[in-house]
Amino acid sequence: MKNQEKILQVKDLYITFNTFSGKVHAVRGVNFDLYKGETLAIVGESGSGKSVTTKTIMGILAKNANKESGQILYKDDDLMKYTEKNYNMIRGTEISMIFQDPMSSLDPVMKIGKQITETLRLKYGVSKQEAKEKAIGLMKAVGIPEAEKRYNQYPFQFSGGMRQRIVIAIALACDPEILICDEPTTALDVTIQAQILELIKDMQKNRDLSVIFITHDLGVVANVADRIAVMYAGKIVEYGTTDEIFYNPKHPYTWSLLASMPDMDTDDKDELFAIAGAPPNMVHPPKGDAFAARNKYAMRIDFEKQPPMYKVSDTHYAATWLLHPDAPKVEMPKILKKRIERQKRRAGEK
């Protein structure tokens, strides 16, 4: 990833929402860079602020949102200052997004063909015929058989996986630079999920796309990501390359996430490493490390002061007091340690 062009920089992003129960601090100071041609995965549970972060980048936040502070730099422009009109110039053509549910992101009463050509006609003003040719080409590229016939069909005539392919075709119609995928496979079956992931990876390679991939499924992350950012309670708690996060995690939350799901080798006698409690209420975000209350490794300072980002390697950073030079040496959970050793051994055999 070194010496690569940064295509998107998010700096100190802070987003709150006005609700009846008070101000919800959804994103609290998020920093990350997206390099050209890479896939950055943002992992976290629901409510961690991962979707809000990407919605801010797309400029599609709900009306009750406040942009408290921060910058989103794209091609020397700050997207935070963009008006709706400015945004219309870049949505679809520069930055595009795929959503979780392929049924609700397509218009049920509009033919598939029109939905794909809509952006082309609108943004580039190409002729109907030209747009149709391009759309059919795209449909073929995303793996839809009989594209000419399918062009005139409605979404309900497509299966879930096919619909998600259409959504991808729409997102790619205007050749964007950045593709944001918000849980694109969560609603799909495993076999279909594998196909869609392969498709996204193919498209990325062929078009040199930069992808932000949001998911809570760590298996999917291991498959698609070059780099990973782990989010919890509106903050990035750890980021690094995929290998660093999976084989050398440093933050207790990352440990818990990795250890909490069984893999194929998990012995059924082992108790899973469950994270106690529930995520904090973001109307009153905790003062110190947000994860402290659920963290069995928490120290007193975790409840009082937010940890800074500690550097583990050039590409790997984690925000936990455990990395402070004076902190006691703590080992990751046994079940996770065993698994990583097993995985490394297997990788070594190959």
Partner: protein, 316 residues
């Protein structure tokens, strides 16, 4: 585990569940569950996996008589429970088999308090003599599933997803069922909560000696949780084996493709993962109908005679 000396708690024989729609020449028959058979023995967990639409949920619902089976028999503790039952028998069945549902929000009545939800089964089955005794049982079960006494008077909307699922589990367990059908009990929950619920179910099973039919689409969870696994594909049970055998030596091509499609949290494995595609036309079932055949002890595969021979070769 998978102990054949035991009498099965549940015996499913050639269960069929067809759904029809339309009339006349537009009539369509969907074979949601098409002739499946399996047994569940006391104290074990039987996992059913498959893609959505393969009929795994329908199987669970037909067993508990939420649907009327089109054909086949279901025996529960040795008694036939499919077909007509008297009110008395039906009550015995609905007490003996309890269900935990996928969606913890939709499966709890929003206008009932937790104690009403949990106590309803006790009242229906006359399992408590007095109000006090009932409350004691409710407090007891709440503690067992990791909630507290204070939660009894609250309404479902006051709880988080994981807590609601605990209420659903408490409701199922309070009538001391012989069989629990857990239909995707964790897939609607957040990742960090899923492990809590899995651990809880595991602990409860050990403590109470529960027999569980675990329905899920996530093979790694099913593998962790079940003693034996049945793989379903388009209404058919294509493979059934002890979970370790199934994972180590998958035989049916569909099982192989399913296993190869699961992404695992291991980047180096993911980089080298080769996906196997399943093409149903590889089977040549023109002359003979495929049957579930035992390839190795307790490892059944849906296949023809020729395929069975081939699988036996493969496993050697």
């Amino acid at each position: 585990m998978g102990n054949t000396n035991n009498t099965p708690v549940l015996e499913v024989k050639n269960l069929k569940q067809y759904f029809t729609s339309g009339r006349g020449k537009n009539k369509i028959t969907v074979k949601a569950v098409d002739d499946i058979s399996f047994n569940i023995y006391k104290g074990e967990t039987f996992g059913l996996v498959g893609e959505s639409g393969c009929g795994k949920t329908t199987t669970g619902r037909s067993i508990i008589r939420l649907y009327d089976p089109t054909g086949g028999e279901v025996y529960f503790n040795g008694k036939l429970i499919s077909g007509k039952l008297s009110k008395q028998q039906l009550r015995e069945v609905t007490r003996g088999i309890q269900m935990i549902f996928q969606d913890p929000i939709a499966s709890l009545n929003p206008r009932m308090t937790v104690k009403e939800i949990i106590g309803e089964g006790l009242k229906i089955n006359n399992m408590c003599k007095s109000e006090d005794e009932m409350m004691e049982m409710i407090y007891d079960i709440l503690e067992t599933v990791g909630l507290t006494k204070e939660h009894a008077g609250r309404y479902p909307h006051e709880f988080s997803g994981g807590q609601r699922q605990r209420i659903g589990i408490a409701r199922a367990l309070i009538v001391k069922p012989d069989l629990v059908i857990a239909d995707e009990p964790i897939s609607a929950l957040d990742v960090s909560i899923q492990a809590q619920i899995l651990n809880l179910l595991n602990r409860l099973q050990k403590k109470l000696g529960l027999t569980i039919l675990f329905i899920a689409h996530d093979l790694s969870v099913v593998k962790y949780f079940s003693d034996r696994i049945g793989v379903m594909y388009f209404g058919k049970l294509v493979e059934c084996a002890r979970s370790k055998d199934l994972y180590k030596n998958p035989l049916h091509p569909y099982t192989k493709s399913l296993l190869s499609a699961i992404p695992l949290p291991d980047p180096s494995y993911e980089r080298n993962r080769k996906r196997i595609f399943y093409d149903p036309s590889v089977h040549n079932y023109g002359s003979e109908k495929p049957e579930l055949r035992e390839i190795t002890p307790e490892h059944f595969v849906l296949c023809s005679k020729a395929e069975a021979r081939q699988y036996r070769e493969e496993i050697k």
